[in-house]
């Protein structure tokens, strides 16, 4: 535990508080000290930790893969190159399997979502106190290290997917075709409002379910790590080790589900027949 005098609930709350940067009620910009202040900042505030960690992880992913891309030759690959190419193969197989249209963006999109989410989820496996405690020693009050346990991160990605769904639906089917798909199914034009309601829910459910599924799983996993961290230090390993091993599965599985759904949604956006 970070501080001896903290109660369990304060400890949990501390761990669930993002490092927020925004405008204080008195007009000055700065870091929020505590959840109350963060709440007062309203919508136009930023979670510095979420953005920072996700940026570093995304940049790490792109750095490694771009390096591999530069070194890729016809000769036999070795080591890291081999691993990266097998990841590419894996993504390529998935995209080929689920995506029937033609769009050079879908495969890189799937790769980026998968690896980025894997890396962000993997932050969950770093023992919960290490980074926040280190940050505290450096004078940073709050630090939430797993970006995917912040709904802003997952909703941000899901919003991006949603915009792509809209963009490609209109691009492939035309505005009329897309509106027609939303209004004339499944019951024909005499049931238009009902159709619109059904299809609208269907459409909106895509990004919302994407974001909430990932967030929920990772948040719950993080929560359990925090709860385990409340146990006496000599007993923690008995629970945190099995949970961490199990969590590796969740880390990969959630990233895989997110990626697969992105591919499927892209495919649906490209299909002309409903």
């Amino acid at each position: 535990m970070a501080q001896g005098e903290l109660t369990a609930s304060a400890y949990i709350k501390h761990h669930l508080q993002n490092l927020t940067f925004g405008q204080h009620p008195d007009g000055t910009w700065g870091i929020a000290h505590g959840a109350e202040q963060a709440k007062e900042m309203g919508f136009w505030a930023f979670h510095v930790d979420t953005l920072g960690f996700s940026f570093v992880l995304g940049a790490l992913f792109l750095f490694i893969f771009a390096k591999a891309a530069k070194r890729a030759t016809v000769d036999a690959p070795s080591g890291l190159q081999n691993f990266i190419e097998s990841v590419i193969d894996f993504i390529d197989d998935n995209v080929r399997g689920s995506f029937k249209g033609k769009n050079p963006m879908v495969a890189p999109l799937a790769l980026t979502t998968f690896i980025w989410i894997v890396l962000m989820n993997t932050m969950d496996l770093v023992p919960v106190d290490w980074l926040p405690y280190a940050a505290q020693l450096m004078g940073i009050e709050y630090l939430k290290v797993v970006p995917t346990t912040d709904p802003n991160a997952t909703f941000g990605m899901a919003l991006g997917i949603f915009l792509l769904i809209l963009f490609f639906s209109i691009k492939e089917k035309g505005l009329g075709g897309f509106v027609g798909e939303l209004t004339l199914h499944p019951f024909g034009k005499w049931m238009l409002p009902f159709n619109l309601f059904l299809e609208g829910v269907n459409l909106l459910a895509k990004p919302v379910s994407l974001a909430l599924r990932l967030f929920g799983n990772m948040y719950a996993g993080e929560m359990i790590f925090i709860l385990i961290a409340l146990l006496p230090w000599y007993a923690q390993w008995a629970l945190s080790l099995p949970w961490a091993i199990f969590h590796i599965l969740i880390v990969l599985l959630q990233a895989f589900i997110f990626m697969t759904l992105v591919i499927v949604y892209m495919d649906m956006a490209h299909q002309k027949e409903h």
Binding site: N18, F43, G58, L62, K70, A72, V74, I88, L111, F155
Partner: protein, 156 residues
Amino acid sequence: MNINATLFGQLIMFGLFVWFCMKFVWPPLVEAMAARKKSIEEGLLAAEQGRAEHAQAQQKAEELIASTKNQAKEIIDNADKQANVMIDNAKGAAVEEADKIKAHAKSELDQEVVRARNDLKDQVSTLVMQGVNSVLEKEVDAKAHKDMLSKLSQSL
């Protein structure tokens, strides 16, 4: 866990990452892998072709060796035959030559014999004449009995 502008930050970051990945990561990797796949396929094909060519060449070589062997045998046979013919010819020529030499020698011998006989005849007749002369010096005229004497010597 409140929703705030982090959402947009994350959205922009996501977009930039996807753009970067689409521009600099995905295409070169996939192209390199496709190129490798192609080169491996080509290599396998070339190996297969090489193997077939090798087998073909081996077969050809075997055929060539066999035909060469036959040819060599033929040449040797021909040479044998020719040698036999030459030997036979040489034998024939030799026999002929020997016969010729023999005949020549024989004819020379015959001539020699005839000449010797004639000489002998002459000498005998001369001797007889001398004997007769010495015996019959007085009663026989050499001129008158010359015809009879030469007849005598001829009948010898």
